[in-house]
């Protein structure tokens, strides 16, 4: 059981932000483009220099190295990039077969060339790639933006299952209010100026 706590987090003249996501819970986050949703996720992943403190349960961000923190608090960028020729080269261990199946991926997908992947396949594979190291918390930036409606349901279910099974907290960024209502119990909005308010 671990919760993700953000205390007086400020970066690039934004914040301070303070909130907590309980173990297994999802915080839905929406806001206009450019309001700083991605920046907020990047700061929580410790990819942006910031003030204030971040806690995963009892562990403070600065007690771990940057990479150790990011292995636990995993950030999924809105667009995934692939740097080797074949899909499997991006995985240090083969993902669990039932995971690929739940995401509707071909069982041979690890041997495929990256160049033949569709945007949707890339996005689902990026989720598999992110979960390789079994992160304790997820920061999801538009995880279903490039998917068709069939896959959206599948990915939502898959991610919620992972969070429930691992009692992992998540911040879920989406433009889709209906999706946020499906996946999250509490929701916030970032306004253009950077301030955050609770959505009912």
């Amino acid at each position: 059981m671990s919760s993700l706590k953000v205390e007086n987090l400020s970066f690039l003249q934004r914040g301070p932000y303070s909130f907590e996501v309980a173990a297994g819970a999802v915080l839905g986050l929406r806001g206009a483009s450019g309001a700083g949703k991605t920046l907020l996720l990047r700061a929580i992943a410790d990819l942006e220099p910031h003030d204030g403190s971040l806690w995963l349960n009892q562990t403070a961000c600065e007690d771990l190295s940057g990479p150790q923190w990011r292995q636990r608090v995993a950030y999924l960028p809105a667009e995934s990039l692939w740097w080797y020729d074949r899909v499997g080269q991006h995985f240090s261990m083969a993902p669990e077969p039932q995971w690929s199946q739940q995401l509707g991926l071909d069982s041979e997908v690890m041997n495929w060339e990256v160049s033949r992947l569709s945007t949707g396949e890339k996005q689902r594979l990026a989720i598999l790639r992110l979960l390789q190291r079994r992160p304790h918390a997820l920061l999801l930036d538009e995880p279903t933006a490039s998917l068709d409606s069939d896959s959206i349901g599948r990915v939502e279910k898959f991610l919620l299952d992972y969070l429930a099974q691992n009692s992992a907290p998540a911040i879920w960024v989406s433009h889709d209010q209906a999706q946020l209502e499906r996946v999250s119990a509490s929701r916030m909005e970032i306004l253009a100026g950077g301030e955050m308010r609770e959505l009912i």
Binding site: L47, P49, G66, P67, A74, Y75, L76, W83, L130
Partner: protein
């Protein structure tokens, strides 16, 4: 045996070929005539001046004078490395990263060569110390400039990939390992090629010079092998050191990429118009 004398007239003849090349470039708008002529002019002036200096230096054996010349050579090499970089470190690092890497690798290898291998007395005898550092620095400079340029250019173009790899929990060294490997290769390929081709395709310049000056071929060969070993290791250590310093500039202590904060790109390199 003495070298066939070479006068100004003969050099003028040779320079006609360079002018011909420059004209060809001008005619076909290859836009290389200016840098070519400037470089040829610099070669003539710089080498003539160093000839005068060396004549004077070789007659006296003064450590401080030799040290002064080493310093000038190193600073010039450092400047050259910096001005070949398209993506540069902000602040004094843009000069000192390359320079300090060359200082550590070339100088220590020169000192080792002079004291332990050639065993010339005193070890800083200018007749040995200046040409050997010159050969080491000249090659190390090329390797370091190529490697640093590859490293920063690739990182500049692939920063998003580096960011994603960091986001997946990779360390800065892991996130940039491909670029690192490619840069080391790029820096070392020229010297590896010239070692592989030595004797078969090319007779290296120093050896040719010694033979032309009347030394026996096998003595010239032994010196050339020594120089090749020194050059390749000097280049390799210099390249690795410079990339290591560069990587430290590129990431902060939390393994975050600080490319846009710590580096800047200049639009054109080499063709000052």
């Amino acid at each position: 045996m003495n070298v066939m004398p070479l006068g100004v007239f003969e050099l003028g003849l040779a320079s006609l070929l360079v002018f011909l090349l420059a004209f060809l470039s001008y005619w076909h708008r290859m836009e290389i005539e200016r840098p070519l002529l400037i470089a040829a002019f610099r070669t003539a002036v710089q080498l003539s001046l160093i000839g005068l200096v060396l004549n004077a230096v070789f007659t006296t054996v003064n450590f401080y004078l030799v040290a002064l010349i080493w310093t000038i050579m190193l600073a010039a090499a450092g400047w050259e490395v910096m001005s070949r970089q398209k993506v540069r470190v902000k602040g004094p690092g843009r000069f000192f990263i390359g320079t300090s890497s060359m200082l550590l690798s070339s100088f220590s290898i020169m000192v080792l060569t002079l004291t332990l291998v050639i065993k010339v007395d005193p070890w800083y005898s200018p007749r040995y110390a200046i040409p050997i550092l010159g050969m080491l620095l000249g090659n190390t400079m090329n390797g370091v400039a190529l490697a640093m340029n590859t490293f920063t250019n690739l990182a500049w173009n692939r920063w998003q990939v580096i960011e994603q790899r960091l986001a997946l929990g990779q360390t800065s060294a892991e996130a940039i390992e491909d670029i690192w490997r490619e840069s080391v290769r790029t820096g070392l390929i020229p010297i590896i090629n010239s070692m592989a081709a030595a004797g078969l395709v090319s007779l290296p310049g120093m050896m040719t010079g010694q033979i032309l000056a009347g030394n026996t071929a096998d003595e010239a060969v032994r010196y050339q092998i020594l120089i090749m070993f020194m050059i390749s290791s000097g280049t390799g250590f210099g390249v690795i050191l410079s990339l290591w310093l560069m990587r430290r500039k590129m990431f902060d202590t939390r393994d975050r990429l600080r490319l846009k904060e710590g580096f800047y790109r200049i639009e054109s390199v080499g063709n000052k118009k």
